[in-house]
């Protein structure tokens, strides 16, 4: 009895494996309907057909902003209805690939480099070059915004190739400061060079304050490190590494100096004591409570800082080595891509085009993001005004760098754990850089 049962089970198992073995996982090419869209030569229309169309929009950032954008768009195109589908960030990153490759893919999806680059070679994302030409997006969107969203056919090299998405709102990281505490410590704001900023940290320390809050439990430590790279590493070198250009390297002398500076600051106690156990939200809370003079964070924290500190807070980019160094900052856009399976590409493209309008810019600014179109940014005061003017400087200098984790899908985890190890003095700067370089090389080898 036991024996026959075993045999039966074995047979069932064999049969199951045989069924499964019949197909290799994955698909060769999904965009069968429009397989010629990738050459970008076909002409497209900027006319939205009159018949009713319903688009589904999968997104992760700024639910209120998206609702407002949709409402404003639908007013202009009454025949189009857009259904927003909100997903929380980690779930979105984990599910969007399956979602976009399914038969019921959303028409428009918020673009995420790490999670969605594989969808470019598989043909699930619409090549936007024809629409860019038809609508003249090169003029209506700033080039820093579009460049980040341009990728080659492999989806591994960014900054060249075809347009994959357009920006709805930009982000930027930098240093927030507490005016009262800075005055007390005799710190002059903004510092003109990195040296001056270091002196400011020292002065803050001498005045008995925690100089700089970072939230290294999640990605706050990586933002600090990236800011130091922006200040100390030539922009071309960083971009060659992060966008996947052949021969790009993070294992350079300048990057090593920046990483050593980072560990030095950790050693000297320039960061909050428990940086590794503090997330970005908690680091912002510490800063808002007046428990540190500076805070490393991004525009997403600006609304909270402005609300709670009012005129007492400001924002500046981490300065470069020289006084006249170009303004460089880390940031990326909330951006949207179109599924190659959509039945209404014209309507979807019209929505993307709408994002360049002044009306959309106002909604984006209201939603806590920086409108890609700098001139369309509404007037703001205090820390929000600082953020706008610093962003304008970055755009002017073409100095917007994407976040370092864009270099390869596996970079993010190695980066956040490596940064924590650097802070705790458990990893050598060179070993940290070598690890990141190894991950990037492995990604491009495949």
């Amino acid at each position: 009895m036991a024996k026959t049962r075993l045999i039966r089970a074995a047979l069932a198992a064999a049969a199951a494996t045989a069924v499964l073995a019949a197909c290799t996982p994955g698909s060769e090419d999904a965009g069968s309907d429009d397989s010629d869209s990738s050459d970008g030569a076909e002409s497209v229309s900027t006319e939205v057909p009159d018949e009713d169309a319903t688009l589904r929009l999968a997104f992760v950032d700024g639910p209120e902003m998206v609702d407002e954008l949709i409402a404003a768009f639908e007013e202009e195109y009454p025949q189009v209805t857009i259904e927003p589908q909100f997903t929380e960030f980690t779930d979105y990153v984990a599910s969007i690939r399956l979602n976009m490759t399914s038969d019921s893919a959303p028409d428009i999806a918020q673009f995420n480099v790490g999670a969605m680059s594989d969808l470019i070679p598989s043909g699930h994302l619409l090549n936007l070059d024809p629409y860019s030409e038809a609508y003249g997006w090169q003029e209506s969107f700033p080039s820093v915004g579009l460049e980040q969203l341009t990728a080659d056919e492999t989806g591994k090299v960014y900054g060249s190739g075809s347009l994959r998405a357009v920006p709805a709102g930009m982000s930027l990281t930098g240093v927030f400061y507490n005016k009262e505490l800075a005055d007390e410590a005799g710190i002059e704001i903004p510092p003109a060079t990195l040296d001056e900023f270091e002196q400011a940290l020292e002065a803050a320390s001498e005045a008995g304050h925690t100089p700089l809050s970072i939230g290294a439990l999640d990605s706050g430590g990586a933002h600090m490190w990236a800011a130091l790279l922006n200040s100390m590493m030539p922009v071309e070198d960083y971009r060659a590494w992060v966008t996947g250009e052949a021969g790009g390297s993070i294992s350079t002398d300048e990057a090593l100096a920046a990483t050593e500076k980072f560990t030095e600051w950790a050693d000297q106690g320039n960061f909050n004591d428990s940086a590794n156990g503090t997330d970005q939200e908690a680091s912002t809370a510490q800063f808002v409570d007046g428990r540190s003079v500076f805070l490393m964070n991004g525009n997403w924290a600006a609304a909270q800082v402005a609300d709670e500190m009012g005129d007492n807070a400001g924002f500046f980019l981490l300065p470069g080595l020289e006084q006249d160094a170009p303004a460089v900052g880390s940031g990326f856009s909330v951006s949207y891509a179109i599924s190659s399976q959509t039945e209404h590409p014209e309507a979807a493209a019209a929505f993307l085009d709408f994002l360049a309008s002044p009306e959309a810019a106002e909604i984006e600014a209201h939603g806590g993001f920086l409108p890609p179109n700098v001139d369309a940014a509404p007037e703001a005061e205090g820390v929000l005004g600082d953020l706008n003017s610093e962003f304008a400087r970055v755009v002017e200098a073409d100095g917007l760098n994407v976040f370092p984790d864009f270099s390869a899908p596996a970079t993010y985890d190695a980066l956040s754990s490596g940064i924590q190890s650097l802070i705790a003095g458990r990893m050598e700067p060179q070993a940290f850089l070598d690890e990141l370089q190894g991950i990037r090389d492995e990604h491009h080898e495949e």
Binding site: A13, A16, T17, L20, A21, T24, P25, G26, S27, E28, V93, A94, R97, L98, T101, G114, A115, D118, L119, P121, S122, H124, A216, L217, D218, D273, S274, A275, N276, G277, T278, A282, P409, A410, Y412, D413, S416, S417, G418, Q420, S421, I423, A424, R426, M427
Partner: protein, 312 residues
Amino acid sequence: MSALTRLKDEAPVPSARTPQRAGGRGGLRRYKGYLWVLPALVFYVTFAILPAFHTAYLSLFDWDGVTLATWVGLENYGEVFSNPDYRNAVGHALLLVAFFSWIPILIGLLMVGLLSRHRRRGMTFYRVLFFLPQIVPLVAVGITWRWMYGDDGVVNQLLRGVGLDGFTRAWLGDFDFALPAVGLVGTWAMSGLCMMLFLSGVQKVDTSLYEAVRLDGAGAVREFVTVTLPALRGEIAVAMTVTTVAALASFDIVYVTTSGGPGSQTTVPGLLVYRLAFSEGKVGLAAAIAVVLSCLILTIVFAINRLTRTDP
């Protein structure tokens, strides 16, 4: 688990009692029972067995989850066994077993020892109270503990309250203490389950047994060792199995509290599977880790069952 096996062994086998009749009908009847099991069986095979085989099959490919996969044979397994990061993760999971399994079982036994000597009123209330951590989703548990372990969290406030200022730290960000801190969250969550199991187990025990031991002049400890502990053998086996599996396959608590940090001090295999499959686009490698982890868990569970079996 062993309770189940025991039940199966003791249950009368229906076919043995049914007089065997010659001809096809008797054979049919023998299979009639399976018909009743069929719906559950189909469900189980479709949603548990087949995906398991599919995972094992996927582990033989290099696949990003989207584009066409390439066959790599056992290469992924080579990577699993040669990469020190993955071995460390298994080590972390094994350490968590102490926190998720051994400590909760000891706490459970201690509580039962204290509560089982006499019938007490309000036993149901205690049971509900101890079981509460079990009905709170582990994600909520993780978030709550993340706050409690924070710089200004309850844990540090308590330490400051008793004058241990020098000992305060951001627990989850400390290279030496993060893993035990995560483990203690598991202890908190699992202790209730163990107590609950043991308390209900001890209620089966005939009170006259306790009386008999007491008449023989036994104290509390003796009573516990001679009556309570042997009676709970089955429950201990169940508790050990469930909690050990929870420790080895842990994901949610770690993911919510530390995401494997600081450094890689708290990475566990479950977290690696998630990262590799969903954020790093290495589905084959993730599947290989999952298969190895499943085999490890099966082996350990098998060993636990062998060790705690009541009848030879």
